[in-house]
Every structure is written in structure tokens, then in C-alpha cells.
Amino acid sequence: MSEKLQTLIIEDEELARNLLRSYLKDHPDIEVIGECENGFEGVKTINEKKPDLVFLDIQMPKITGFEMIELLDFKPQIIFTTAYDQYALKAFEMNAVDYLLKPFSKDRMLSAIEKVQHRIQIGEDTSEKLEELTNLRPGEDFIDRVVVKDRHKIHIITVDKIRYIESLDDYVMIYTNDGRHMKQKTMKYFENNLDPKNFIRIHRSYIVQVDNIAEIQQYEKESYIVILKDTAKTKLKVSKTGYKKIKEVLHF
């Protein structure tokens, strides 16, 4: 290896950062270029410095390591670290990514680095794998928030604030009371991960929060629209199967 791996540590606990730094200190192929205490800093630093390798803690304040990956424009090699998180572990195993279970030994960490070096050598692209990882829902729970980034600001939207979601090719537009946010995710992802008691896929292009529906109107014979509870009285098309689903959830 001619050049050292530019490495970033993202970890909220100081002691855990200290340990990683001391493990990495005299590694011949690693140069630690920075440390971040939370996911917000992490997104900013990764997009700015474009490191080769990131040690990423899963559980951090504000946004989790997984949520942070969703916000990255540039996807480096990632070694996840976590103390105990059954869901994360399941996701790791399903997706064969590198992870370290805290507390981990220096040897264990070195072998993880070796794997990363090998992947870089053979030029394997891991961004797709990471993308997939963030789409997995290994637990039974539905998501309770969505993290989005507009230019330079990160927003955390709790799902109760979502009015509806519109599909835009490879992206979705999430409409809240405060505005709208674009996110690179599929409609299928939201359909699977939002509680179907509260969110209905009414159309190929729309998912609506149930409480936000003001009216359902017949538009033509066998075709319907919903009118939302907002000042603009937004009208959304309803497909045949969508209409069935609304009937099921609202019991009419």
C-alpha cells in the first residue's frame, strides 16, 4: 500500500474514541484525520474530507450511525462499532459488513482493517451494500423518525409530523407542516417501514398519513381523490387498491 488510509473516527464516547486512537496510533497504513462526536459532525466531515475509512458507532445522540449513512453524498469504507444492539447485529450479519463488538481487541480491529485494505485493492464498491443496510428493518418495530438533509442542514422529522410522501423517480418528497424535504429512498421502503395503521399507500405515487385525510371524494366513476387537511386543500389521486386500503384502515 503506497498511501496511508485516511481514517475518521465517529464515536460519541470520549473513552471509546481514546481507545480507538491508541489502537490506531502506530498502525503503518492508517492516518487518523479526525474525530467526530456525533452524526451531524460526521456527515459534514465525511462530505468535506472524503476519508477512505470510517470507524462508525451505531448508537449516537441525534442520529444513529445508520441514519448518518443515508445522508452521505460520498460513501467511504465503513467499520461499524457497537456494544450491544441485537437489531444492528442482525443487519450486519445479513449484509456481511465489517463490525466490531465493544469491547474489542487490537487484533480483532487489525483484521477488520486488513479486510478493508483487501477490498480497496480489488476495487470492490461497497456503497450499494451500505445503501442496502440502511433499507433493512431487522427488528419488528416501525421507524419513528426520518432524517433528511437540505443543502447544509440536517432535519430530524418524527413520523407524526409527516403529512404525505410523494414519489419522484429515485427520490421521495416528504411533506410536513413546515415544508418539504427530498430524500433518496424508495416508496417501497416507506411503505414497509411506516406503521400501516397510520400511513396508507393510496397510489403508486403517494403515501398519506391517515389523520391528515379530510375527505374522500368520488372523482369519476370508480376513481377517487383524497382531500387533505391543509389550507391549500391538497388533492391526491387514489388508485383502486389504494381505495380498498383506505376502506380497511378507516372501517367504512
Binding site: 464516547e13 470520549e14 473513552l15 471509546a16 481514546n18 481507545l19 491508541s22 462526536e37 456525533n38 448508537q59 445522540p61 441525534k62 442520529i63 456494544a83 450491544y84 444492539d85 463488538l101 465493544k102 469491547p103 419513528d144 423518525r145 430530524i156 418524527t158 413520523v159 407524526d160
Partner: protein, 350 residues
């Protein structure tokens, strides 16, 4: 099931006493009222009130193995008729074998009594039958009640066992990771933390689920827990206690507070980058100790889903221990979250 008479000496005594009294009254009546010779009267009473009760005690086995529920009425009657006939036969035979040497004169008191004696034998069989059925019913009822009580106690214990807070593995592994880091940078502090962690673990393992501890003991343990977490979170975690000294003697279920602090850290400290204060206050007026734990939280990043499993378990555990609902109150003040525990006291604290 054992024979009630051999199994229960008090019942045996009453049985003997009962027949003894009847025999005595019978002898007195026969001798002084009907002028029956004493020998005859003794023989008659001995046959009726000593021999029959001895033989009749075996009727227990005939009801024990012929449950009323499992056998048809016709078969039951047939069975008992045969059993009664055999019993009567033996009884009459032994009685007359004993009588034989005494039947020497013309007094027909014993000799002529044969038909009525057989009749009495059958009637007595029925009386014994009813008596033993009653005893049997009473015994199985008692046993059932006892077993039910045992089951209930077992279930209660199992429930409490499940509800008692377990050490969160997340806490354990993160603490171990902190120790691993400290062994490199600050071995003395690492040692201190190992000892604190051990003391805390020992406390949580040592006490069983029913045990009560003093509030001061529980509070000590909480401070230990917070000192371990403080190593991880540093300045971010700030704990304040406003405790009246006279409340410290109050009694409280062990490890009931720890899950509340764990929640405060999980939702308060863990989810924010700012400092979070956990404030613990208490008041003890009369029969209750009221403990309130309050923490700030960032309502923008998490949607608190009301009562999680931790709080639900504490509520359930309090309900089982005190047999009273609503001993836990939850208040969401939007920027802070407060849990109040109301702990009934056996002796009022003042």
C-alpha cells in the same frame, strides 16, 4: 391419599370417643332401663360400637377407589351392596363367634336379635358411607385449595422474577469498553470502575425480587450506577439529589429505581449533545414515600412513546408487591420527563 383415621390422630381420637360415648349410653340404658344383664349388654355394645367401627373403617377404601364421578349409579349401588353384604357377613359371624360361649340360658336377647342385627349392619354401612364421602370431599377440597395457593405463589414469584429489572447488556458492554480504554490511559481509574461495576452488579444480583431495602441503600446503589455512567458520558450527565434526611429510613423494593435512571439516561443523556440534568426529589408524608425523577429531553429528535417496557415492568411489580394500582405517575412536560413513584410504608415515616 392415606386413610383419614390413621393419617389424622385427632380424627381417630374423635372417632373412638364418639363410639365410646354411644356405647356407654347404650349400656346404661340397657342395664338400668331394660334390665338386660350386664354381660349381654357389654357383648352387644362391643359388637356394635367397637367391632363395627373397626371393620367399618375399611369402607374408606371402597369409596376411595370408586369415585362418584367415574362410575355409573347402577354399578355404584351394586358395588356397595356387595361390599355391605360381605362386611355384614364378617361382622355378624365374628360377633356370634364371640357370643357363643355366653349364650347359656334362656335369655334370647342375643340369639333373637340376628335379623335386626343384619338390618342394622346395612344401615350402619350407609351411615359410614356418607361419613367417609364427606371426609373425602373435605380432604380433596382442602388439598385443592392448598395446591391452588401454592400455584398462585409460584406464579407471583415467577412474575416478580421476570419484572425485576435486569442489567441492561448495552450498559454492561459499554462500561466494559470504557474500562478497556481506561486500562491504557488511566489504569487506576480503570480499577476504580471495575470495583464500582462489581459492587453495582453484586447489589442487583444479591437481593431477591421481594426484598425491601432502605431508601438510603437504594440511593447509594443509584449513585454508584450514575458514577459508572458518568465515566462514559462525562459532563453530559449531571445528577442532582434533593433528599430529606428523614426520608432515608423509608422502605422500598430493591432495584426499583435503577430502571428509571436508565430510562432518563437513554432518552435524556443519550439522545442529546448538551448537558442533561437528572433531578431526584422526594417527600415522605405519613404512609407514603414519594420519589420523583425528572430529566430534560430533546423532544425534536425523539417521540416518546409513553410507557415503555421498563416503566410497565415497574408498574406491574409495584402492583404485585403492594396490591394497589397507580403507584407510578408519568408526566411529560414536553422538554422534560418526570416519573413519580409512590411507595406505601408499613410504618409511617416522619
Amino acid at each position: 391419599m392415606k386413610h383419614p383415621l390413621t393419617n389424622n390422630y385427632r380424627l381417630l381420637l374423635f372417632y373412638a370417643l364418639f363410639w365410646g360415648i354411644i356405647a356407654t349410653v347404650n349400656i346404661i340404658l340397657q342395664v338400668f332401663w331394660y334390665n338386660v344383664p350386664l354381660t349381654y349388654s357389654l357383648l352387644d355394645s362391643g359388637s356394635n360400637y367397637i367391632l363395627y367401627p373397626l371393620l367399618g373403617s375399611s369402607i374408606w377404601y371402597s369409596i376411595r377407589y370408586n369415585s362418584l364421578e367415574e362410575i355409573s349409579v347402577g354399578r355404584l349401588i351394586a358395588f356397595h351392596f356387595i361390599a355391605a353384604s360381605i362386611l355384614c357377613g364378617i361382622w355378624v359371624y365374628i360377633s356370634y363367634a364371640i357370643y357363643q360361649p355366653f349364650i347359656y340360658d334362656n335369655n334370647n336377647f342375643l340369639k333373637d336379635g340376628l335379623p335386626s342385627k343384619i338390618f342394622v349392619g346395612y344401615v350402619m354401612y350407609i351411615i359410614y358411607l356418607v361419613f367417609f364421602y364427606a371426609v373425602n370431599y373435605y380432604q380433596s377440597l382442602k388439598e385443592k385449595i392448598k395446591k391452588e395457593g401454592e400455584y398462585k405463589a409460584l406464579i407471583r414469584e415467577a412474575e416478580l422474577q421476570a419484572l425485576k429489572s435486569q442489567i441492561n447488556p448495552h450498559f454492561l458492554f459499554n462500561s466494559l469498553n470504557s474500562i478497556s480504554s481506561l486500562t491504557v490511559s488511566n489504569p487506576e481509574k480503570a480499577q476504580e470502575m471495575v470495583i464500582n461495576l462489581s459492587t453495582f452488579m453484586r447489589y442487583s444480583l444479591m437481593h431477591n425480587e421481594k426484598e425491601m431495602v432502605s431508601f438510603s441503600r437504594e440511593l447509594e446503589n443509584i449513585k454508584l450506577y450514575l458514577s459508572i455512567e458518568k465515566v462514559r458520558f462525562g459532563k453530559k450527565l449531571n445528577a442532582e439529589f434533593e433528599i430529606d434526611a428523614h426520608c432515608l429510613e423509608a422502605e422500598i423494593p430493591n432495584m426499583i429505581l435503577q430502571p428509571l435512571f436508565e430510562n432518563a439516561i437513554k432518552y435524556g443523556v443519550y439522545e442529546t449533545t448538551d448537558q442533561v440534568t437528572i433531578t431526584t426529589t422526594c417527600e415522605c408524608d405519613g404512609p407514603y414515600l414519594k420519589i420523583s425523577i425528572r430529566n430534560d429531553y430533546d423532544s425534536n429528535s425523539i417521540k416518546r412513546r409513553g410507557e415503555g417496557i421498563g416503566l410497565r415492568n415497574i408498574r406491574k411489580r409495584m402492583e404485585i408487591i403492594y396490591n394497589q394500582p397507580d403507584l407510578i405517575k408519568i408526566n411529560d412536560h414536553k422538554t422534560s420527563f418526570e416519573v413519580q413513584l409512590i411507595i406505601p410504608q408499613k410504618q409511617p415515616v416522619s
